[in-house]
């Protein structure tokens, strides 16, 4: 830990006050951060489903409003928190704050506010982009990247806000915050999986190295990072289970709502909102991570990252590879697995392509090189998660 100079008297009084407050209560702004990331994640899922099924949108679609609600909620709550801490804060709230541009507040509040502000900035930018370069020419356009960075940073800010509070709490208050942290972490995983949707959302790639490369890069850093921060047993497993449950809930609830294609040409008639496909089977890898990291607890982090990453990939492969055959079969073409759900612009004559495994890599050598990269990326991602988690554990403000 970094050296520091303690302020006598005031500090001890503040900590006493803080401890008494934080043993049982989850502060409103932590709830607010969790609600914001929930709204944004649901909004993003909704928006992708909207584009697949309905096609066209405006700024005022419910999906966009949900995304921006997250930004506004974060912006307002964090702004209030920061302004209150700066100008009216006293005792614990002020003592446990950081100073940014002359303002004081929790570190997570500044980060989340920055994310929310970034999201709001993307709105006029995106509007102009549409007018100038056409409506959603590409998913990864500059204004969309600004939005995605904002969403991601807002989510991370919420996690840091929760963590800062958690690290100062004890007993039931801490346990509540740990649960909230895992929940918010699962939403972060949802968001990252949506970013990698092109690869890990395509079940036909489950026998391609690119699928495992994307999964290996994205998942361990969140699972291990949040897991280490929470210090709970089976944290990665719990987080992955929450992610799976939330995604399945989306898959099963969204299709209950009617929808019609509003963009042509329509090749597949749309009668309801289209689900985003079966969740990524990240649970086996998460169990392996928890087991390995627990079993090798005394080892150095680098070795643990290598063994943990290897365990994650081995378990992921062991389950995903055979599961791919099931997903391609007619048994998966139902509401549970959603392999019979297609967007409006997917012609029935092409359905068979969604039910046939394909190899992204052109040659066998390319595949094995890809798998090697996946293994290395998984270990690196695991190590990064450890570093992130370690840093998060030190956050006190």
């Amino acid at each position: 830990m970094a050296e520091s100079v303690r302020m006598p008297m005031v500090a001890s009084a503040a900590v006493g006050e803080l401890t008494s407050i934080r043993t049982s209560v989850v502060p409103w702004y932590v709830w607010s951060a969790a609600m914001a990331v929930t709204a944004t994640t649901v909004g993003l899922y909704w928006d992708i489903s909207w584009h697949i099924g309905i096609g066209r949108d405006t700024f005022w679609t419910p999906a966009h409003l949900a995304i921006q609600f997250g930004a506004v909620l974060t912006g307002l709550s964090c702004a209030y928190l920061i302004l209150h801490t700066t100008f009216a804060g006293e005792g614990a709230s002020r003592d446990n704050s950081v100073k940014v541009l002359g303002l004081r507040g929790p570190l997570g509040a500044f980060i989340a506010a920055w994310g929310g502000f970034c999201m709001l900035t993307s709105a006029p930018f995106d509007n102009w982009w549409h007018e100038s370069y056409g409506l959603d020419v590409a998913i990864l356009s500059p204004p969309h990247v600004v939005l995605l960075v904002g969403i991601f940073v807002m989510g991370v800010g919420g996690l840091i806000l929760t963590t800062g509070q958690m690290n100062l709490s004890a007993a039931e208050g801490r346990r509540q915050l740990e649960r909230l942290l895992l929940y918010s972490g699962s939403l972060l995983l949802c968001l990252l999986f949506m970013l990698g949707y092109e690869y890990i959302g395509d079940q036909t790639l489950m026998h391609s190295a690119i699928y495992y490369r994307a999964l290996g890069m994205i998942a361990p850093v969140v699972l291990v990072g949040i897991g280490r921060t929470s210090e709970r047993r089976w944290a990665a497993t719990t987080l992955a289970a929450i992610y799976t449950t939330l995604w399945l809930a989306g898959n099963w609830i969204f299709p209950l709502f009617p929808a019609q294609a509003k963009l042509g040409p329509v090749f597949t008639p749309i009668t309801h909102m289209v689900p985003l496909g079966f969740p990524v089977l990240v649970l086996p890898g998460a169990i392996a991570l928890d087991l390995v990291l627990d079993r090798f607890d005394g080892w150095g982090d680098t070795w643990k990252a290598v063994i943990g990453g290897y365990g994650f990939m081995a378990a992921t492969l062991a389950v995903n590879w055979p599961f791919a055959y099931f997903m391609m079969s007619s048994h998966a073409r139902n509401w549970i697995f959603a392999m019979n759900e297609f967007g409006y612009n997917f012609p029935p004559s092409q359905y068979h392509l969604a039910w046939e495994l394909r190899t992204y890599e052109k040659t066998r050598a390319e595949f094995w090189v890809g798998m090697l990269i996946a293994l290395v990326a998984t270990a690196l991602s695991t190590r990064l998660g450890m570093l992130w988690g370690e840093w998060m554990r030190r956050i006190r403000r």
Partner: protein, 484 residues
């Protein structure tokens, strides 16, 4: 009501588009079953984009209108999207406005379904769609975004510094010199990262913009005109990136419009005092030969209309200086006119003498012509005794043809009594929709013809209005000053 106001505002906006020779809006007058409609479509300036659609019911009582866009690619077109209900005007219940989303460049049709006292009537109108311009960022918005970016950059650097300096300190602890040094290091690293990210973002943005400009913005195929020294003009169509990259999307082959693969209009500059409507013959793919009539020397602007296999119309532009040409007399559908030079300061004309001794009278409904307002341009034909004629004949299947040319040549529009839609495109749209294909029969040949059209921008225009009488094409010439 608000939407109606927006629509009116849009209609009065001055267009600065130059592709398709400056007149991108689609005007069409036709029957949707028992109802007679005048339809205006303002295609988006950038694609994908939203087209504004306005329908005026001119006969029959219509209670509601649905519209749906269909992309015409000559291949598997799927089904149209769910149709949208147009909004009736609060002022005029027989006026409706709506919008359609057009997601790709090329040939589209807007399917119209009108419901009224006589049941349902259907219509399909072809709409060529292409990106015309990239909207520059307004100064105010640019300033706002720059300030926001600056704030975000400063904010993230400060946050990084605070995180490293104070994030892990116990409550109320004051950062030590080491903490402060860590904070400064974090800020320095953040500055480098932020500057790198902004620079990369700027490079990416420019690359994207350049790519879109190159691949998305439409330009008509380049047209090379060469004169053989006697009476032949060779017209060679080339291809640019826009066309090359769309070959697989839809047919690039040409189809005849009014029985001709190409309609070439020769306009002598600078006075626009000679005008010829001619029909080159295709020599090979993309290559046309035009046998010229007798024409005087001068610099000529060439406008060449073609229609692609999917109904996408294009107007190519070229220029050539010709000597005096001793050619053949007008044959078949060829025609021309010898008139006075255009004078911008001269008053607008509404009577034009015809070559056969008769005259053509422009019946103007309004004292003042305004850009962006759709109206019927009505012309009455009289014989040499100033009596209404009753012997007009179809000219290439239509009651008449009219060409609207802006004095600076930034606008050239070839209009028919059914509107700005080429008949070949209309036939494809109607066939696609399973609707009857004859739209010329309605325009019975009296002494009066009318053309629905709206000037795309203010300025001085010359109008060439062509009818056929006793086997001879007669061309009336009118000048107009259009207000903004």
């Amino acid at each position: 009501m608000r939407a109606w106001g927006i629509m009116l505002a849009l209609l009065t906006v001055t267009s600065t588009a130059f592709a398709h020779v400056g007149s991108p809006d689609v005007y069409f007058e036709g029957d949707a079953g028992p109802y007679h409609l005048l339809l205006t479509v303002n295609p988006p300036a950038m694609v994908p984009g939203i087209a504004q659609v306005q329908v005026r019911v001119t006969s029959g009582a219509v209670s509601s209108i649905n519209i749906a866009p269909v992309y015409v690619n000559g291949k598997d077109q799927g089904m149209p999207p769910t149709a949208d209900l147009m909004q009736a005007s609060a002022i005029d219940p027989q006026c409706f406005i709506g919008k359609v989303w057009l997601m790709d460049s090329g040939s589209w049709e807007v399917r119209v379904e009108a419901l009224g006292t006589h049941g349902i009537g259907k219509l399909a109108v072809p709409v060529p769609v292409f990106a015309r311009r990239i909207l520059p960022m307004q100064k105010a918005l640019g300033t706002l975004l720059f300030v926001l970016m600056l704030f975000l950059c400063v904010g993230i650097v400060s946050i990084a510094g605070a995180a490293a300096r104070e994030g892990g300190l116990p409550a109320a602890a004051i950062p030590s010199p080491r903490n402060r040094r860590l904070g400064r290091i974090a800020m320095a690293i953040s500055v480098v990262l932020v500057v790198t990210i902004v620079a990369l973002g700027n490079w990416w943005w420019n690359a994207q913009a350049a790519d879109l400009k190159k691949n998305t913005l439409y330009s008509a195929p380049p047209l090379r005109a060469t004169f053989d020294g006697t009476d032949k003009l060779m017209l060679q169509m080339d291809e640019d990136v826009w066309h090359k990259t769309r070959k697989d999307q839809w047919s690039m082959n040409l189809i005849p419009d009014h029985g001709h693969l190409m309609h070439a209009f020769l306009l002598r500059l600078p006075g626009m005092d000679r005008f010829y409507h001619l029909h080159p013959e295709q020599a090979s793919e993309g290559s046309f030969t035009l046998t010229l009539p007798t024409i005087p020397s001068g610099r000529y602007k060439i406008f060449a209309d073609i229609v692609r296999g999917n109904g996408f119309p294009e107007t190519m532009v070229s220029e050539i200086t010709l000597p005096d040409v001793i050619g053949r007399s007008f044959s078949d559908d060829d025609s021309g006119v010898d008139t006075s030079a255009f004078e911008p300061s001269a008053p607008a004309t509404n009577i034009s003498p015809l070559a056969d001794g008769g005259r053509m009278i422009w019946e103007q409904d309004r004292a003042e012509l305004k850009a962006g307002q759709v109206s019927w341009f009505r012309f009455r034909v009289e014989d040499a005794r100033h009596e209404p004629v009753n012997d007009l004949e179809p000219y290439m299947g239509m009651a008449g043809h009219a060409e609207f040319v802006r004095a600076d040549l930034s606008v050239f529009a070839h209009i028919h009594p059914a509107g700005s839609v080429p008949m070949a495109s209309l036939m494809i749209a109607q066939k696609n929709s399973g609707l009857p294909m004859d739209h010329s029969s309605r325009h019975s040949l009296t002494d009066e013809i009318s053309f629905p059209y709206g000037f795309p921008q203010a300025g001085d225009y010359r109008l060439f209005v062509q009818i056929k009488r006793r086997g001879q094409v007669q061309t009336g010439v009118f000048d107009a000053h259009v207000q903004g």
